[in-house]
């Protein structure tokens, strides 16, 4: 298995191609980092050139105006994450390990939601959230996010709980434990990996979203999320200072970078499992 025969120009060519692809993948990041330490004028005149001196003022200025949106994003993602994990573990366990009337029909209803495209939901969700008088509050993002993200999570959790050996729960039942106890003390501790997978995929999706916030958060800038602010800027609203923006981009990437790299294993797994199940 270890011996992979390749020789001559073939090796050289394929290694070269791999290197080129890798560089191209990193190009946006490198451009962003390079821009973030240059002054606006320098970027416009010499886009590709490396900075002659580091202009850290960009970061100082960016920090001031981007901190609030980033905190908003983190707050929304954090509250949503907790709620998603609660809802997903409860429903996943009920569908995967509990026996009750109508289980199959109800689970089919959960699966069927996967067919509804995001686009079609925007207008009615706006109507509903507006009817609840929640527009321009954090809940305008949190509630639809929990509702949307739970589906994928339940599908993952259901199959995880279903595949847990029955004996474990039988033993607990003989010892007189109720199903609530089994859930809290047996199933939940075991499901940490699957919940990490659900959590990290949800957080990435929520942090990245800028369409729904643009619809639901039309009021003041103080409650807007990070990606929404960047999107508004792309649409021509806000600062034109490219150095400042690039610095803000770098700062705004950090939370996602920390979240994903700390759950890297689960993130990669979530992508693969999610794809195969979906």
């Amino acid at each position: 298995m270890k011996k992979r025969r390749m020789s001559g120009p073939g090796v050289f060519l394929s290694r070269g191609l791999l290197a080129v692809l890798l560089v191209l993948c990193f190009l946006p990041i490198m451009i962003m980092l390079n821009m973030s330490v240059k002054q606006h004028v320098m970027i416009a005149n010499d886009f590709w050139g490396l900075p002659r001196s580091f202009y850290w003022t960009n970061y100082m200025k960016a920090w001031k105006f981007i901190l609030r949106p980033i905190m908003n994003s983190i707050l929304v993602c954090g509250i949503s994450l907790v709620l998603i994990l609660i809802v997903v573990s409860l429903s996943g366990f009920a569908f995967g390990k509990m026996d009750f009337k109508g289980r199959r029909v109800l689970y089919m209803l959960v699966l069927a939601v996967m067919m509804i495209p995001y686009t079609l939901q925007i207008i009615p969700t706006y109507n509903i959230v507006s009817g609840m008088h929640l527009l321009n509050t954090y809940w305008a993002l949190i509630i639809p996010y929990v509702s949307g993200q739970q589906i994928f999570g339940i599908i993952l959790a259901e199959s995880f709980y279903r595949e847990l050996p029955v004996d474990m729960f039988e033993a607990a039942r003989i010892d007189g434990a109720g199903e609530g106890y089994s859930f809290l003390h047996i199933a939940l501790p075991l499901s940490k990996p699957i919940l990490a997978t659900v959590g990290i995929t949800s957080v990435v999706a929520m942090y990245n979203d800028y369409i729904w916030p643009t619809v639901a958060m039309t009021g003041g800038d103080e409650i807007k999320t990070f990606c929404q602010i960047v999107f508004n800027n792309a649409a021509g609203k806000g600062s034109n200072d490219m150095g400042l923006l690039a610095a803000a981009f770098v700062i705004g990437t950090v939370p996602l970078l920390i979240a994903v790299s700390s759950c890297m294993k689960y993130y990669v797994q979530g992508m693969i499992v999610g794809a195969v199940k979906g």
């Binding site: 990041i29 886009f47 590709w48 429903s91 207008i123 009615p124 509903i128 739970q150 369409i211 490219m242």
Partner: protein, 293 residues
């Protein structure tokens, strides 16, 4: 063993939050969308029943109809890019001998995924800027005549949107493909080597046929992703210049939250929904992987 009423109710208590959210935000929502499509609702406030008027209008709306052609081009390109480049990268990686090095390269391919999508799009917009970015390179190479306002030119705008994210490797499709490639039994590969197969033959006759379920999954996923999203176009050209990059979902969004015509927008949304359902079912039929594969 007879269960108490409490333990009988417990499962329903467990799924209650899910059901409440699902009934309101999915099932009521879709009924609401269909109902709204038969009204002249403006921002969801006033609404009178107008029958099929919105649908009749949608099928005569030139912008709406041509936006499907743009969507078709974008989707075809997206599906191709989601299969070809991840496959290329996975194959190149497969033939890297040192497993440690291969692992490092794989991780490196994942890193750019952590940059928020909107930022990557923004950086690409800088590259397409009329005054710098790609144009700087063209000018230095003496190809001044090629330099122009990429995103503001009807002939290049759509192509430029398609190329955003090149080389399309830092995405979940690469992870799926790479995973699939490593799932192929080493015995097949060994046997091919004994028979003196070249790397190209290994790829052609062992990898690609065995990767089929993964390729099919990627086709279906990227198809749905591309059809249902409009964030990319919204953040780059917003449908301009003219309507040369307009796509149905973005059109719907702009009618709804630009003009406030929720009724008409919902009708456009419902037409798009039906198209997505048909295409999804068709792709499941042609490319669908077996249940739980």
């Amino acid at each position: 063993m007879k269960k108490s009423l409490g333990s009988k109710m417990l499962p329903y208590l467990f799924i209650l939050p899910t059901l409440v959210l699902m009934v309101i935000f999915s099932y009521y929502a879709i009924i609401n969308a269909i109902y709204t499509s038969f009204t002249d609702s403006v921002y969801g406030t006033t609404s009178a029943f107008v029958g099929l008027e919105n649908y009749a209008r949608a099928f005569q709306d030139k912008i709406f109809l041509t936006s499907f052609i743009n969507q078709l081009l974008l989707t075809a390109a997206a599906v191709f890019n989601s299969v070809f480049f991840p496959l290329l990268a996975s194959e190149l990686l497969f033939f890297v001998k040192h497993s440690k090095l291969a692992n490092i390269i794989k991780t490196l391919f994942v890193v750019p995924m952590m940059v928020p999508t909107i930022i990557t799009i923004f950086i690409w917009k800088y590259l397409y800027n009329p005054n710098f970015g790609i144009n700087t390179i063209l000018r230095r190479m003496g190809l001044k005549s090629l330099a122009h306002n990429w995103l503001n030119d009807e002939t290049t705008a759509l192509l430029c949107i398609i190329l955003i994210g090149f080389p399309f490797i830092s995405c979940m499709y690469f992870l799926i493909m790479h995973n699939g490639l490593n799932m192929i039994s080493g015995e097949l590969y060994e046997a091919a080597l004994v028979d003196g197969a070249t790397p190209m033959q290994v790829v052609r006759f062992i990898h690609v046929p065995n990767l089929k379920p993964y390729i099919n999954t990627i086709v279906t996923l990227s198809l749905i992703n591309s059809l249902s999203g409009f964030g990319l176009v919204a953040a780059t050209t917003n449908g301009s210049p003219g309507y040369s990059t307009m796509i149905p979902a973005l059109y719907m969004y702009k009618i709804a939250f630009g003009d406030g015509k929720f009724g008409y927008a919902s009708a456009c949304g419902c037409v798009l929904f039906i198209v997505i359902i048909i295409l999804t079912l068709a792709s499941r039929k042609f490319f669908g992987n077996k249940e739980g594969a």
